[in-house]
Symmetry: C2
Subunit: 218 residues, 2 copies
């Protein structure tokens, strides 16, 4: 008895998840039928029920896969935007802050499909405690990583945030999410969205204080 699942099986699951991603983002999870997902993946329902026990299980498997992908991409993304703050703290301008935020939230989140699927996930979580637990775990992980990057980077520049970096990061994430939704809702109003987002670096700088070397965050 072999513990690892065969590559064939794994590929089938991947293809089903790929199709589900499209289907869920286009129609929404409740409206998407197992049938449609299978058809899109080039399988029949037989294959599906051989791999997943229900649409919900597929959805959770999908979210886990996608969330992992994005959390992993996060570190690299941000790091690549922050090469030189410690060399020269004066580069910590509104522009740089904007760029970092763009990396953190913009890059991955601006994917239309991903945004839609995540909304579905959130909505499900808001109605179901167990789903919420899973959702929160991902969110917490994501924010922790982001906050850590922010804090250490600022520390390099001799700066700190007035509040807990995680709270700040969460707040900014809220703003970006809102902006993203707006851009999906009225793509024409990109100007307005950008104006709103342009306020953010200003805000971030307002929340900065010189780093006191005594215990800043226990």
């Amino acid at each position: 008895m072999v513990e690892v699942e065969s590559t064939r099986r794994r590929k089938t699951r991947e293809r089903l998840m790929d199709a589900a991603y499209l289907e869920f983002s286009e129609r929404g999870v409740p409206a998407a039928s197992v049938e449609a997902v299978c058809e899109r993946a080039g399988f029949t329902r037989g294959a599906f029920y051989s791999n997943f026990s229900s649409k919900e299980e597929l959805f959770f498997a999908l979210m886990e896969r996608e969330n992992l992908r994005r959390v992993e991409a996060l570190g690299l993304d941000i790091a690549s935007a922050l090469p030189n703050v410690s060399d020269d703290p004066s580069v910590l301008t509104e522009e740089l802050v904007g760029e970092v935020l763009e990396r953190a939230f913009g890059g991955q989140a601006l994917d239309r499909r991903w945004c839609l699927v995540q909304e579905e996930f959130a909505l499900l979580a808001m109605r179901n405690t167990e789903v919420a637990a899973e959702y929160n775990a991902f969110q917490a992980d994501f924010f922790d990583r982001l906050a850590h990057v922010v804090r250490t980077t600022l520390a390099d520049a001799g700066l700190a945030l007035t509040g807990d970096p995680r709270d700040v990061v969460k707040l900014l994430s809220g703003v970006y999410e809102f902006a993203l939704r707006e851009s999906l809702l009225e793509p024409d109003a990109a100007a307005s969205t950008n104006r709103m987002l342009s306020l953010v670096p200003q805000i971030v700088l307002a929340l900065l204080v010189p780093l006191e070397s005594e215990a800043s965050t226990p």
Copy 2:
């Protein structure tokens, strides 16, 4: 031939919308069946199709009703929180800002059901251009009213915002929406949510500048 619909008919529609509000918020629009809505309202589907042509039409009628209610409540709500700024500008503290924001966003938005139904509306809008138009109209109306109240109130106190009040208001709305979602997702973490929200008044004050009497907003 009488143009006005009978009161009986109107009451039926109201009851169906009331039931739909509950059903949609609990199960979500796509998952809620016409049957369930009718049963909850104490009718059969016959009554439903005599009044609405589809579940979607019911949903839009419901959203129109609820949106109207809330936009109307907005003016009163905020006005009641701002009796005395012009008398004594020094009361414009972080506390007051917090209270105003609470009135504007907290009061109505913190209704769990309303939040869920609005998420559904937004999601629908993100997938459908026509729905988006309706959604945006409401949002714009809401923000315009809110921004107007904010601007005039600040002007009374001899202050203005650095950016367009509507952008600021939108930004804040994003933060509050995010906070609300968080509170729905992990009700235990109210502390964290409150900490995040407590940053907001600070931010608002950072965006304030003394009012220059020359054309501030054309």
